[in-house]
């Protein structure tokens, strides 16, 4: 398998590979096959390419403060199972499924409830009032996205937070272009409604122009 991809190193007797292979083909499929053959650096490249997808899926489901650590845990969970992945082209969808399971497991484990808000920016200490207001608004937007139905929430976070395009989301997660496009459109529509409602609620029921985030 590795030979067909142009890797020159032989698999070590110990059954592990830690060196850097010559990678003439850096497609995801080639990287998955190289990783399955034991090339750690190939898996490192997959890590770089898919970390934003994993981060986005987790951000849609678990507290912000926990997300970064869980990203690494997802890859550590995927690593020993990689040889069981039979279709290298489905790596993204497979990794997305592991990520969603990781998020479910997060809520199954007993943990100490943190008193503080999971706003990552709240620990800034003494901030100017306008900065605090801005931080609060940003947190409200994120909360708005995170309160959407699951399919929209995940896709919209990948688009708005992680900066992935629709075609990129489809390619990485294994969803069809149509599903991603519908999720983005309907999610955005619901988000607009939610943010609009919050404007009304914040102004005591009076109608107000949509909030501007500068």
């Amino acid at each position: 398998m590795a030979r067909g991809l142009g890797f020159s190193n032989a698999i070590l007797d110990s059954g592990t590979m830690t060196g850097t292979p010559a990678v003439p083909d850096d497609s995801d499929i080639a990287l998955v096959k190289a990783s399955q053959a034991g090339y750690r650096d190939a898996f490192g490249q997959l890590y770089q390419r898919y970390a934003r997808m994993v981060h986005g899926i987790l951000l849609a489901k678990v507290p912000v403060a926990e997300v970064e650590d869980l990203v690494h845990e997802v890859f550590l969970r995927a690593l020993p199972r990689l040889h069981g992945l039979r279709e290298a082209s489905r790596f993204g969808a497979w990794l997305a499924a592991i990520t969603r399971n990781m998020a479910k497991d997060y809520y199954r484990q007993p943990r100490v409830q943190l008193e503080c808000n999971d706003d990552s920016a709240s620990a800034d200490g003494i901030a100017a009032p306008n900065q605090q207001a801005h931080t609060r608004e940003v947190q409200e937007i994120l909360d708005g996205v995170r309160s959407l139905p699951e399919a929209y929430r995940e896709t919209l976070i990948l688009r708005l937070v992680e900066g992935m395009t629709g075609p990129e989301i489809a390619a990485k997660t294994g969803l069809s272009h149509g599903s991603v496009r519908v999720n983005l459109n309907r999610g955005m529509q619901q988000l607009r409604e939610k943010l609009g409602q919050r404007c009304v609620a914040a102004s005591g029921g009076r109608k107000q122009e949509p909030r501007k985030i500068d």
Partner: protein
């Protein structure tokens, strides 16, 4: 197409891929949320363990000492589960759990000043029930939590399956506009001449009184199948279906009338040889690059002697990807056909194969 559908499909190119006219509101959200974006480099990773001699999965299962105990436990749990399920089912009929909300809109009688109004009524469509609109009524059906169907006048549909997992309706006649946001394969529509399977999309399906019909995809793509005959319809394309022969050959709706008419002729099983040759010749001559998917559908449908000319024209429009050979395509190798389809970038055929397997229990080829 209903106006509501048109609204939803208006220019979303900035949201979709960042192209087109930037949407200021989306730009503001991007700017506000980018602070949460992941930007850390990959940390050091442990070495990857490679199994020295990987076992096939059935060998692994067969050799595992826990397998007999696990199988016995599974059997007992399944038996208990089935018993409980049957008991519950007999006590509480499905209809109580799996109905869908329907809003029926009727044109009311004109008032004294001549204005015709509309009356709205909320209903519930339960499993096994039929929804029928007349010339003056339309309906909007909430498909559980996965989508919505707009039902045009003079339409009859039945709810066949709901609950968790797959949702299924039968469209006996009339027109529906479906918008589905569930994962591919969960929403299925039976018609008298073919079964439509949503693969993540928005589409319109019409069935006439004879049971034939046409499906038009607005977003995403739809699979159409019957008796092993399959059609995939991407956004912007349409596909007729016939009571006698099942799904026809799909085409992009901007193709010429002559092209579409020739395709319709080729779908007729009883067409004589001279007309058939003439229709195939016209299709091959007029096919544009984006019509490659139409020629791909023709490959298994044309006669053996006609297939090389379809292959040559298709290969000229979209070269076959590595691993796809002329010989393989001429003998209708399923993997090669699938691989060529994926080169059109119209949707991953893996999705279709996956869901098809889940219905039939065995893989099939085009």
């Amino acid at each position: 197409m209903a106006p509501d559908h048109q609204d939803r499909t208006r220019d979303d190119s900035y949201l979709w891929d960042g192209s087109g006219q930037p949407d200021p509101e989306i730009q503001r959200l991007e700017l506000a949320l980018e602070r949460f974006r992941y930007s850390r480099p990959a940390p050091p990773l442990p070495a990857i363990q490679v199994p020295a001699q990987p076992l096939r999965w059935w060998s692994e299962i067969a050799l595992n000492p826990w397998t007999p105990r696990f199988a016995a436990t599974l059997l007992v749990v399944s038996a208990i589960g089935c018993g409980l399920w049957l008991e519950q089912s007999s006590r509480r009929p499905d209809v109580a759990r799996h109905g869908w909300d329907v809003e029926v809109t009727s044109a009311s009688q004109p008032s004294e000043n001549g204005d015709a109004g509309v009356a709205k009524k909320s209903e519930r469509l339960e499993l096994g029930e039929t929804l029928e609109t007349n010339a003056a009524t339309k309906a909007s059906v909430a498909v559980a939590e996965i989508g919505r169907i707009e039902v045009e006048p003079m339409t009859r549909l039945r709810l066949l399956q709901s609950g968790t997992g797959r949702k299924r309706i039968a469209l006996d006649r009339g027109t529906i506009h479906a918008t589905i946001w569930a994962p591919p394969g969960q929403f299925v529509v039976d018609t008298p001449s073919a079964v439509a399977v949503d693969l993540g999309c928005m589409y319109t399906l019409h069935v006439d009184d004879s049971g034939s019909g046409i499906l038009r995809t607005t977003l995403g793509w739809v699979g159409f199948h019957r008796d092993g005959r399959e059609s995939f319809i991407p956004a912007g394309a349409a596909c007729p279906t016939h009571v006698k022969s099942g799904p026809g050959t799909p085409y992009f709706e901007d193709a010429s009338d002559a092209f579409r008419s020739a395709l319709a002729q080729l779908d007729l099983p009883e067409l004589n040889s001279a007309s058939r040759n003439s229709a195939l010749d016209l299709v091959l001559r007029q096919a544009r690059e984006r019509d490659a998917f139409t020629l791909w559908h023709l490959l298994p449908r044309v006669r053996t002697g006609e297939r090389p000319s379809v292959y040559d024209r298709l290969a000229a429009l979209v070269p076959p990807p590595p691993g796809v050979t002329r010989d393989g395509i001429l003998r209708l190798d399923g993997r090669m056909l699938d691989s060529w389809w994926d080169a059109f970038d119209l949707g991953d055929i893996y999705l279709w194969r996956h869901w098809e397997q889940s219905w039939t229990g065995r893989p099939t080829s085009p």
